[in-house]
Symmetry: C2
Subunit: 224 residues, 2 copies
DNA sequence: GCTAGCCTTCGTACTTAGTACGAAGACTGT
DNA sequence: ACAGTCTTCGTACTAAGTACGAAGGCTAGC
């Protein structure tokens, strides 16, 4: 019953590719992408840097894997069911996942080796649209539209100067100084009278846009 | 009439912050963000690496400046005129600019020090929405929606495995292999029967989504 | 139980990149 | 001509990715 490589006597278990990738994910989540170095990863795993390279070929391979792990967390739509509800569910799930892993959105741009979870994801969304009755052309339009919105929203969330409903004022300090000069009056007005009001949460904006988009797609589906 | 620091005798002109930033921009455009190093930048400028640091405090400052230079290229809407036309124009301009500087979209996520062009941009778009009659809440909704779409679209364009209408098949090679296995049938069908058809250009998808969004906003303005 | 050979881990060191520090050179006004 | 300042640069330290090959440990067959 003893695992190979683990003699049960308290020795460190064998390093696996799984443990490397999980460690990388948790490091990125905890301290950001910049803190994910081979050395820091090795330390967290309790091994020396070069040991990591027995499990992965390069850091690039780790980053590709991370993107796919993030995709795997997104709830898939079910083709054939109410497409609006399914795609809405998927979009909300994607937003939440990308907000949980803020660093991920920045990786999407540089990685062009989609993994299996990524491809599965694409395939299922396309299947859902086709099953709903969208033509190939409309499917392409709809998919580009929905995904642009989801990714763009996540990108904006990731680059907000503040982190969430809390801690708004202090990090935005230098920006406020720039705005205080009196240029940008409309921006200042919106910021102070709206964005910085207690209870405002940018994430809440997501639903409005998503519903507007799905409404538009629904209309274009019935009209043809 | 001789510039200070340039004695007219063929000496190399004094290095300016302008020349540093322009050099950085052209390097990033030509060879990508990864190729933009202080050393490569210095070489292109005909100086030694540390000379650059007399003009900028750090590489981070260069990256912040690059983002602002890109924003400065985007055509601004004119508040008070036909808002739909103005915001449409701005969105198309933004897409073109971000497609021209593919590396820029990746910077948006990491930089949280907006520059003057960025702030001016935000201010003008907000002014345009307010002048069109949108309430503060609707302005926030509309702005988040439009920008999410524009940025997300640019992000997808930047991460496409192929570069444009040309050169589709070869770079996508390893992806095709994965898809060939028979999983992902819908993705394969869409790809072969639609995306890879001659004449298809992803950039053309932009108009559909933008119009749908502007239609929806217009409706919510007249009803709301 | 013993050893040949593979599987894992790691030590060392090379390369690229950002940049701190202070010296050297160039240019200014007096 | 000279002092003070502005620009440029030489040197070198640190962090990070990773090539190379050795060292240690485990397994199978004798």
């Amino acid at each position: 019953m003893t695992q190979p490589g683990n003699d049960g006597s308290g020795r460190r278990p064998r390093l696996t590719r799984e443990r490397v990738l999980q460690g990388a994910l948790s490091l990125a989540d905890a301290h950001g992408l910049a803190a994910l170095t081979i050395r820091s990863l090795a330390q967290q795993l309790g091994v020396k840097p070069m040991t990591v390279y027995y499990q992965v070929a390069s850091k690039d391979e780790i980053l590709d894997a991370l993107v796919d792990m993030v995709f795997a967390e997104i709830e898939l739509p079910v083709p054939g069911r109410d497409w609006r509800k399914e795609l809405g569910k998927r979009a909300h799930s994607a937003r939440r996942v990308l907000a949980r892993h803020r660093w991920a959105i920045g990786l999407l741009e540089s990685r062009s080796r989609p993994g299996p979870a990524n491809l599965r994801h694409h395939d299922t969304v396309i299947a859902t649209l086709r099953a709903a009755g969208f033509s190939p052309a409309m499917t392409a339009h709809a998919y580009a539209l929905i995904d642009s919105y989801v990714y763009g929203f996540a990108l904006q969330e990731a680059s907000l100067p503040f982190e969430g409903p809390e801690s708004v004022g202090n990090i935005a300090e230098p920006i406020m100084e720039l705005m205080a000069a009196g240029d940008y009056p409309h921006l200042v007005e919106m910021t102070t009278s709206y964005y910085l009001q207690p209870g405002y949460d940018f994430a809440d904006e997501f639903t409005f846009g998503l519903d507007l988009i799905l409404d538009g797609l629904e209309a274009s589906l019935t009209q043809g």
